[in-house]
Symmetry: C2
Subunit: 353 residues, 2 copies
């Protein structure tokens, strides 16, 4: 197996070809399906799309631009002629195959956590830190879904004011745990409504009409789970605020595909809700949904299937009488801005470079 | 109609009778049903139970200790011979009928918001401020469900340390909006799973696999809704911390009957997670569910139907490097500690006085 260093040193860093050949690794997963949809919906100028997955999924077909494409089994020779490889098959697969893709001349956009904290791999949300892409050596990391959605919502504030502290409580959907978890939510809820028992197989707890602390592995020392620690580290890195104190609680709620988060943002100086709202004028990737008169704010039923991150409930934090803190409520599609859309946007930015 | 002042001045404040006659006002509602269950399950020493409700529900029967009790239509003469009246039919009914109950010699335990911020009416969570009951003039207010659950979780910390700031993000169940909202959650979810459309009738937004900012009326100036403002005011009052800064976001999640809350508590002095955990030893009304090794923490599937408030995820707040803040996650049954159980506990305390 090639090491990442071997691959990177042999990578010429040439400009990505016009009308590139694009491969999706993990094409049949929840994010893979959305990658394919995003490429088609956004008219991504590719010359060919290749679908790669485990041998178990090889031979299946998936619809793309009116044609049936056949899923191929992933191996180290899969990347011949590929210019952009969108990886979304877990960090084990990324660690095993990303170097082969880079060696073959592809730029890898990796949706797993494998390289996100690697100093030589840019971690990118295009609306926030597109410039970081320039330093890539063949791999660009796509962030954790909460970090991607949160930073899109925070960047317009950071551009105008200086954030000095963040607190977040999340309301996270099943999709973050994959298509099987979404199906388990549907099936277990149907069973509950029928009065039948249901044994969870994908998630560790009952999911029908239930919520629970995020199922990522717990760090027994700090009492934070892996999801929370990722959000902290990645949010700091994407925003270029390596010391930002971030308090966080990640909770899985019975929602299919959109993540919510209650954010409390403390700034160096007093900021009014009007100033905060004004910071979003013209901000990329954000839609304000903040209608106090109608009591209408961001919710998954509106955010699901939508590219924009919805931001609302912008108000002074009653917990900070100094006037330096703003509270907001944010909801974004976990499979789109939280995963597939952000990866395709990175690929689009590669073409522009 | 009697005013509350008239009624209170004519109220002799006598000791409540042994084996009192108890009335439930709003007996057929979600909380009313739980009041009846709590009185039976706890062996409340009553001589007679009377069930009062709207004329629409009069004549229905409800099972209590193996007997069918007939629901009577509520009117101003309903309280003759009643010693304790448990009101749970909305603040309009409480404002209209509480004075008549007091005039008739009953002590009213009121689950509505009608009198909660009245300086002459104690607002009581027995585990937190039972002593406040002594000053009652015929009416004792039962708090908002979030305030009741939160203060049970916070009181052991306040008893050992000094709380100087609180942030809360809630995960609130349908039951807070009544039995019809619980049914709407079930029905709309079943419709969603069948692929049918569903028009919300009780709540203002789709509820199937969806969450939304709490539907209480919004204060357009502050941007806080009525639920959030109640939690702030009542938490301060119950804890005797009238100036406590409390930042809060209340979100309705698709859960049937247990409320969750992510709390961040800032103290005057540094507090370690071990010290915070030790504060709960022997604390009334609280069960620690804080198993990092098994990644097992409070959730509605465990809290529903349970008297104790579940407290877990006790850890240092990563958002406060000074070491003065502790984060925790709390779940309690909205219909029990959030409503009926607390009211029955107040009634029990009346008997002991």
């Amino acid at each position: 197996m090639l090491t990442l260093e071997d691959a990177a040193s042999s990578q010429p860093h040439q400009r990505v070809a016009d009308n590139p050949v694009v491969a999706i690794v993990g094409a049949t997963g929840a994010v893979g399906v959305e990658l394919l949809h995003c490429l088609e919906a956004r008219g991504f100028p590719l010359s060919r799309l290749r679908l790669l997955a485990s041998p178990r999924s090889a031979g299946k077909t998936m619809r793309f631009k009116g044609q049936d494409l056949t899923v191929e089994a992933l191996d180290e020779s899969s990347f011949d002629g590929v210019h952009i490889a969108l990886f979304s098959a877990g960090s084990g697969i990324s660690k095993r195959f990303a170097a082969a893709a880079v060696k073959a001349g592809a730029v890898v956009v990796d949706n797993s956590s494998a390289f996100r904290m690697d100093a030589e791999v840019p971690l990118v949300v295009p609306e926030v830190n597109a410039a970081a892409m320039a330093a890539h050596r063949g791999i660009i990391a796509n962030p954790n879904c909460v970090a991607a959605i949160a930073t899109v919502a925070l960047a317009p504030l950071q551009a105008r004011f200086r954030i000095r502290r963040l607190h977040a409580a999340t309301y996270q959907a099943a999709s973050g745990a994959g298509a099987a978890a979404m199906e388990e939510l549907r099936e277990s809820t149907a069973a509950y409504l029928r009065g039948d028992s249901f044994e969870p197989k994908v998630l560790p707890h009952p999911y029908a009409f239930n919520f629970f602390s995020h199922n990522a592995d717990m760090d027994p020392e700090s009492g934070y789970n892996g999801e929370e620690l990722k959000v902290v580290a990645e949010t700091r890195r994407i925003m270029g605020l390596p010391e930002l104190p971030i308090g966080i609680t990640c909770i899985r709620v019975p929602i299919l595909r959109a993540h919510g988060m209650a954010l409390t943002v403390e700034f160096e100086e007093p900021v009014t809700p009007e100033q905060a709202r004004a910071a979003y004028e013209g901000a990329a990737g954000v839609k304000l949904v903040d209608d106090r008169a109608r009591n209408y704010f961001p919710m998954p039923s509106d955010a699901s299937g939508q590219d924009d991150v919805l931001v609302g409930r912008i108000r002074a934090d009653l917990g900070d009488p100094s006037g330096r803190s703003i509270a907001l409520f944010v909801v974004g599609d976990q499979l789109l801005k939280g995963a597939a859309l952000n990866a395709v946007q990175i690929a689009e930015a590669l073409l522009k470079r």
